[in-house]
């Protein structure tokens, strides 16, 4: 970008345009002829991966906005409408929700790479600060996006985060009211969050252009941390960096696809499949994993204002990094002490992430304070001090020398990184999971084997049909299934009824309709397009009929329930595609009435002991007993059979496109593996000319 362009179009039309708008020259000098240090490692491909993720988020987001309704009464349902009814809506939603996590994974790698190799140092300070601004914008965008589905975590996350501003002296409360547009988080809040969530990605894209511009003025940093001196030190961006980035992006897509197609709800919280309820707070309000370290810092400070200042300070301090670390040597590769402190810092961040997911009590509070001090000490004490006392190892004369001298030393950091990241990451994820732990009574539902588990999982049609029968004859006396339509019974991947059978099933129901010409409501037989009716006209009636506790809607029950999986198990779950927490829980709950309450357990009046249920006192009486429902297919009429069948049925109602997701996932995985292989060999061929 600096210097005159070597772009020389031959085509007269391109020439004509180039004289008037030198866009071709800009693209040519930025992405084709642009000299790239030849020693860049794969940590540098995360810049390209981030551009890709921004594009993925904008494209899927624009499409989701075509189907989403930003209204407190409709938002939750519209998101479910996207997942259930829109063509490929489930794919688009999972791409977007998991894409946010992928975006943050990539940005953290990108930031840590910058930190390790000193990419913030002269002359790249502005480039770095623009990066910090992008990161802040990403955090704001991610947070507001998380609010949009209007689940329990969305609502309470919004409440907690906006309340941060109430810490500001004198004007805090007024600012919070201003942010809400009301007396509490409500419809105006949701509306403005939607507007801003749509706007900010384009602001990010704008700052990214500045970021890339600044990058191309200063030139890329590289693992050796020495500037390119001669032609031999660089290679043209295309094809060398282009193909290497393409390979990096394809590998990242493979990782992304694993989450989207096989564990799409792994990183989410089950509570967000419960519609927002301003009257009930979830037991633990935990932010998405990518905010956990900052959340830990917030909670470590025993002062409201202090915590807020510390949390924002933890991000703002990054902007001052170029001046806090004044060491002449850029790359930590040649700074033995800085290298060690860098890895300690990474461990501190992961530790903070782990603590952010723990309940704020006991040892966790103390550990949080220690790590918070460590976090700030790294920036404010260690780096300034190191830059004065540390003796760096000799730098290579040039990038070309660095490439020629590459030896075993390159492997070691890679391996240690992997180990550190694996250990730290597992701590963080384990912590996330522990946050929902429930320690007393030591109850974890047993993991059952389900036909729909695993990469080739399919629903057992007979089981779904039995489950539907149990729902109709037992559960539907109290519980609604308001997101499921009768037509869904004939959908592919469901219980396997024909459209005529579904219509006949619908006709057995009486549906309230109206008003008619006379202004009256009336009842008519159900049609396939109708939804399963609720047994109660409204929530108040449901409460009145059930001793004050409203029976929840069962449509999303299998996704809205989860339990602690424990630290190592939780890691294996990602590889084993474990996604059956909900059905396991439902099955165990339905069978959990058999046991007697342990001695000393005070069972509240009107409750039943059930060790699986949180608090172990459930208002719902034992719903199932042997012989209650008879099956046509000769399956045993036992509670055990009923519980499993109805849990499988509820899994289908919660995720009707599960089979389609796994089938498409397999195709995508096969394609991506082949594509990654092709790109790898192409990359080798292309780079063969450079070495």
């Amino acid at each position: 970008m600096s210097g005159p362009s070597s772009y020389n179009p031959q085509n007269p039309a391109l020439k004509w345009i180039e004289r008037r708008l030198p866009l071709g020259g800009l693209i040519h000098s930025s992405f084709i002829a642009y000299p790239t240090p030849r020693n860049l490692n794969y940590w540098w491909t995360f810049g390209a991966i981030l551009s890709m993720m921004l594009a993925v988020q904008i494209i899927t987001g624009v499409i989701l906005a075509m189907h989403y309704t930003p209204h407190v009464d409709l938002a939750f349902k519209s998101v479910e409408g996207i997942v259930r009814d829109v063509n490929y809506g489930w794919l688009l939603r999972y791409l977007h929700s998991n894409g946010a996590s992928m975006f943050f994974i990539a940005v953290y790698v990108h930031m840590l790479r910058g930190l390790y190799y000193g990419s913030y140092k002269e002359p790249r300070e502005v480039l770095w600060i623009l990066g910090v601004i992008i990161y802040l914008l990403m955090m704001a965008t991610g947070f507001m996006g998380y609010v949009l589905p209007w689940g329990q975590m969305s609502f309470w996350g919004a409440t907690v985060i906006t309340n941060l501003f109430s810490a500001i002296p004198y004007v805090g409360d007024s600012i919070v009211t201003l942010l809400w547009g009301g007396y509490a988080v409500g419809n105006p809040t949701l509306n403005r969050f939607f507007s801003l969530h749509y706007l900010l990605p384009f602001v990010i894209a704008g700052v990214v252009v500045l970021h890339v511009w600044a990058l191309h003025v200063a030139g890329q940093n590289n693992p050796a941390g020495v500037e390119p001196k001669t032609e031999k030190d660089t290679v043209p961006f295309t094809p060398y960096a282009t193909i290497k980035d393409a390979f990096g992006m394809a590998c990242f897509l493979l990782f992304f696809a694993w989450f989207v197609f096989y564990i799409p709800n792994y990183l989410g919280d089950p509570d967000n499949y419960v519609q927002a309820n301003p009257a009930v707070t979830p037991a633990h309000i935990v932010p998405e994993w990518y905010y956990l370290p900052f959340y830990a810092i917030l909670r470590s400070i025993p002062s409201k204002l202090g915590g807020v200042i510390a949390m924002f300070g933890a991000i703002i301090v990054l902007a001052f990094l170029p001046w806090l670390d004044s060491a002449k040597t850029r790359s930590s590769k040649y700074r033995p002490l800085a290298k060690q402190f860098f890895w300690i810092f990474v461990a501190v961040c992961l530790g903070l992430g782990y603590l952010g997911a723990q309940p704020p009590e006991g040892i966790y509070v103390i550990a949080g304070r220690i790590l918070t001090v460590c976090y700030f000490a790294y920036f404010l004490i260690v780096l300034p001090l190191l830059s004065r006392i540390e003796t760096a190892r000799p730098l290579p004369n040039s990038i070309a020398d660095d490439v020629l001298a590459k030896s075993g030393s390159r492997k070691a950091p890679m391996v240690s990184t992997m180990i550190a990241v694996a250990v730290g990451g597992s701590l963080l994820l384990g912590g996330m999971n522990n946050a929902k732990a429930e320690n007393s009574h030591g109850t974890t539902p047993p993991s059952l084997s389900w036909s729909f588990a695993g990469p080739f999982g399919k629903f057992d049609q007979g089981q779904l049909q039995r489950g539907l029968k149990i729902y109709k004859e037992v559960c539907s006396a109290c519980h609604a299934l308001s997101l499921v339509a009768f037509r869904n019974l004939a959908d592919p991947g469901g219980p396997g009824y024909t459209p005529a059978q579904a219509a006949a099933f619908a006709a057995e129901y009486k549906i309230k309709d109206g008003p008619n010409d006379a202004g009256d409501m009336f009842e008519r037989p159900g049609r396939p397009a109708d939804y399963f009716p609720s047994p109660f006209p409204n929530e108040q009636a449901a409460r009145a009929a059930n001793g004050g506790a409203a029976p929840p809607d069962l449509s999303l029950m299998a996704k809205a329930r989860g339990y602690e999986r424990g630290f190592p198990q939780f890691i294996f779950d990602a590889f084993m595609q474990f996604q059956e927490k909900g059905p396991n829980y439902i099955d165990a709950l339905l069978q959990g009435y058999e046991e007697k309450a342990p001695a000393g357990f005070a069972l509240p009046e009107g409750s039943y002991y059930n060790r699986i249920f949180p608090g172990h006192a459930i208002k719902m009486p034992k719903p199932l007993s042997d012989g209650q429902v008879t099956f046509d297919d000769g399956s045993p009429a036992t509670v055990q059979q009923y519980a499993k069948d109805v849990a499988a049925f509820l899994m289908w109602t919660a995720e009707p496109h599960l089979e389609a997701r796994k089938r498409l996932g397999l195709q995508v995985m096969i394609f991506l593996i082949i594509f990654c292989g092709l790109l790898y060999f192409t990359k080798r061929k292309v780079w063969a000319a450079a070495h």
Binding site: I59, V86, A529, I674, K685
Partner: protein, 175 residues
Amino acid sequence: MTSTTSAEPTRRDFLYVATGAAAAVGAAAVAWPLISQMNPDASTIAAGAPIEVDLTPIAEGQDIKVFWRGKPIYIMNRTKKQVEEARSVNMSNLPDPQTDQARVKEGHDQWLVVIGICTHLGCIPIAHEGSYGGFFCPCHGSVYDTSGRIRQGPAPLNLAVPPYAFVSDTKIKIG
């Protein structure tokens, strides 16, 4: 780029072409769901199911408008005079020749059921207006007769007849 072009295709060329082709296939596959999502979703399709309309409240000479699949449908109980007018037209005077008999159900000659959308550019014509006593589209001046056939103005075709059937003498099912 290094320019080692040879007349014979090499293994390297094959690799490059295969990689490019895989990228193209991937891009096309990604485009599919992004475009497909714009089609009507399952709930919209389900809501487009047939509707039943009771004809008893419609007196002779009156009409009602019902909605099916988001389209207004005129159901007109025509007078004897209107039916006669519609049937006495010389076919050669019609831009889109069609007999009145072909536009109604046999034995239910007085009932005209048409999609009330002007075939010009989609406005809603007003019933019982225009020089033929049928429909008049205020947007661009198309005039339809009592059989909903285009007589004057820019519209090229008669008002469309939706799929419908008489369930009983006083009830029709549209769709």
